[in-house]
C-alpha cells in the first residue's frame, strides 16, 4: 500500500486478537450494563479523570490569562473593565430585585403565616467554569468543583442573577453542568405575576421556552419567570428569565412562551452550586397552612 506507515510488530497476531476481543467485550459491557451498575465503570475511570483534570485547570487559567491579556492590550481597557463590572452589577441587582419582589409577593399572600416562612438558608458552593463539554451535541460546562467538595448529580447551578442549569456528572475534582438552554434540561417554572406554572426547557437553537402554561393564563410579554421550588436542586424564586413572546396556536391545549434567560451563558465565569435548596416539604406545609387560613377567613 503506497504511503502507508507500517510500524514494527510488537505483539503477535494472537495477542492482537486477544486485545481486540477484550476491548470488544468492554464495549458490549458498556452498553449492556444497567445504568445503576455503571458506577463500577465510573469508579475505574475516576483516577484517570482526576489526572486529566489537572491539565484542564492549568489550561483554563492559561486561557483566561491570555484572554485577559488580549483584552487589555487590544481593547479600550478601562471602558471594557467598567462595562464588565457594570454589567455584572446590573445582573446581580436584577437578581436581588427579583428575589425581593418574590419575597414581597409571598409576604403579602402569606402575611398571617409568616412564622412558616423560616427559609432554610440556601447553602451554595462557589465554582469556576474551566471548560465546555467535549461535544457539540450537549450544551454543558465543566466546573472546578467535584465530589471531593460535596457536589452531587442533580444539584442546581445558578449565578447571583439566575438559573444556569443542573449537574449531570461528577468526578473527584470536576463536575459537568447541563445548561438550561439544552433540550435535555427541564425545570419547573412559575410566572411571577400570574402564578401559573409550566415546564421551562431548552431548545436545539439554544433558546429557552416555557411549555404547558394553562390556556387561560393572562401571561404576557415582559412577565418574569422564576423557579417554582418543586424541581430538585433549586429554591423557590430564583430568576430564570423574561417572557419574550407567547405562542398560542388554535387547537393547542396549552400556551408556550419564549423566554430570554437572564444569565449570559457565553460569558459566565463563576457560578454557585446549590448544595442545600429549601426543602419542598416546607413549601407544601406553607401552602397547606395557607389553604387552612383561607378556609378560616371564609368561615368568619
Amino acid at each position: 500500500m503506497n504511503g502507508r506507515f507500517r510500524p514494527a510488530v510488537l505483539v503477535g497476531s494472537g495477542t492482537r486478537r486477544i486485545i481486540a476481543v477484550v476491548f470488544a467485550l468492554a464495549c458490549v459491557a458498556f452498553v449492556l450494563l444497567p445504568r445503576h451498575a455503571q458506577f463500577f465503570i465510573h469508579d475505574v475511570g475516576q483516577p484517570l479523570a482526576d489526572v486529566v483534570a489537572i491539565p484542564i485547570e492549568s489550561m483554563a487559567s492559561l486561557t483566561r490569562g491570555l484572554r485577559d491579556g488580549w483584552n487589555q492590550v487590544f481593547s479600550f481597557h478601562t471602558i471594557s473593565e467598567q462595562n464588565h463590572e457594570l454589567h455584572q452589577r446590573v445582573q446581580q441587582l436584577r437578581g436581588e430585585l427579583n428575589q425581593w419582589q418574590e419575597r414581597a409577593l409571598a409576604a403579602d399572600r402569606l402575611a398571617a403565616l409568616v412564622e412558616f416562612q423560616q427559609h432554610t438558608p440556601i447553602r451554595t458552593v462557589a465554582a469556576q467554569v474551566i471548560g465546555r463539554s467535549t461535544s457539540n451535541w450537549y450544551q454543558g460546562v465543566v466546573l472546578n468543583k467535584g465530589e471531593h467538595d460535596g457536589i452531587r448529580v442533580e444539584m442546581g447551578v445558578m449565578t447571583p442573577a439566575g438559573v444556569v442549569g443542573q449537574i449531570v456528572k461528577t468526578t473527584g475534582s470536576t463536575s459537568i453542568v447541563l445548561l438550561m438552554t439544552d433540550p435535555n434540561v427541564a425545570i419547573l417554572g412559575l410566572v411571577q405575576r400570574t402564578r401559573d406554572e409550566g415546564i421551562v426547557q431548552g431548545t436545539p437553537q439554544s433558546h429557552v421556552w416555557m411549555k404547558y402554561i394553562p390556556p387561560l393564563s393572562p401571561v404576557r410579554k415582559g412577565d418574569v419567570v422564576v423557579t417554582s421550588g418543586l424541581t430538585d436542586g433549586f429554591p423557590r424564586g430564583v430568576l430564570i428569565g423574561e417572557v419574550a413572546r407567547i405562542e398560542e396556536r388554535e387547537g393547542d391545549l396549552f400556551q408556550t412562551a419564549d423566554i430570554v434567560p437572564v444569565v449570559n451563558f457565553q460569558r459566565m465565569e463563576e457560578v454557585l452550586i446549590v448544595t442545600s435548596p429549601q426543602p419542598v416539604e416546607a413549601m407544601l406545609s406553607i401552602e397547606q397552612a395557607l389553604d387552612s387560613r383561607e378556609n378560616e377567613n371564609a368561615a368568619q
Binding site: G3, R4, F30, A49, I56, R132, N136, Y138, L178
Partner: protein, 162 residues
C-alpha cells in the same frame, strides 16, 4: 520512542478539547480532536491500535461530557478500528482518503450522537441537529484531519502520498 511520546500528547487532547477549542469554535461548532486522532491512528497504525486508542480517548472524554457515559468510548473505539479496516482495503492513505474517511466517520459518529441526544424529540429538532451540528462538524473534522495528516506523515517520517 515516538509511540511513547505520543501518550502524553494524546492525554492532552481532552484538556485542549475542553478548554481551548471553545474559544476557536466556528459558529459555535468545534471539531472533535479525539475523533480525528482515533481515525488517523487507525489509518496510519492499524485497526487494533486505532481501536484501543479510540477506546481510551473516548473513555476519558466521557468524564467531561454532559451526555451518556459510554457514548464517546464506543464511537471513538469503533471509528479507530474501522478506519484501520479502511486503510487495509484502500490503495493509499493520502490526504484525500484521510479527509473523506474522516468525513464519513464523523457523519456516522454524529448520527449516533444525534439519535441519543435528541431521542424522542420531534423531526424538526432532528433536522436542525443534522444541518446545524452534524454536517458542519463533519466538515470541520475533515479539515482538521488534513492538518493532522500532514503533521502525522512528517512525524512518522512519511511524506503524504497523492
Amino acid at each position: 520512542m515516538k509511540r511513547l511520546a505520543s501518550i502524553p500528547f494524546m492525554l492532552l487532547l481532552v484538556p485542549v478539547q475542553v478548554t481551548l477549542l471553545p474559544s476557536l469554535s466556528l459558529f459555535g461548532i468545534r471539531p472533535d480532536l479525539c475523533l480525528v486522532a482515533a481515525c488517523l491512528v487507525g489509518l496510519f497504525a492499524g485497526r487494533v491500535r486505532g481501536g484501543v486508542l479510540g477506546f481510551f480517548l473516548g473513555f476519558v472524554q466521557d468524564f467531561f461530557f454532559a451526555g451518556t457515559l459510554w457514548l464517546n468510548t464506543l464511537t471513538k473505539a469503533a471509528v479507530g478500528y474501522l478506519s484501520g479496516v479502511v486503510a487495509k482495503n484502500v490503495s493509499t492513505t493520502a490526504w484525500y482518503s484521510a479527509f473523506f474517511s474522516m468525513l464519513v466517520f464523523s457523519v456516522a459518529s454524529g448520527t449516533v450522537f444525534l439519535l441519543v441526544a435528541r431521542q424522542g424529540m420531534d423531526m424538526g429538532v432532528v433536522f436542525h441537529g443534522i444541518s446545524a451540528v452534524l454536517f458542519p462538524q463533519a466538515v470541520l473534522d475533515g479539515l482538521v484531519s488534513l492538518v493532522a495528516h500532514w503533521i502525522f506523515s512528517r512525524w512518522m517520517g512519511h511524506a503524504p502520498s497523492g
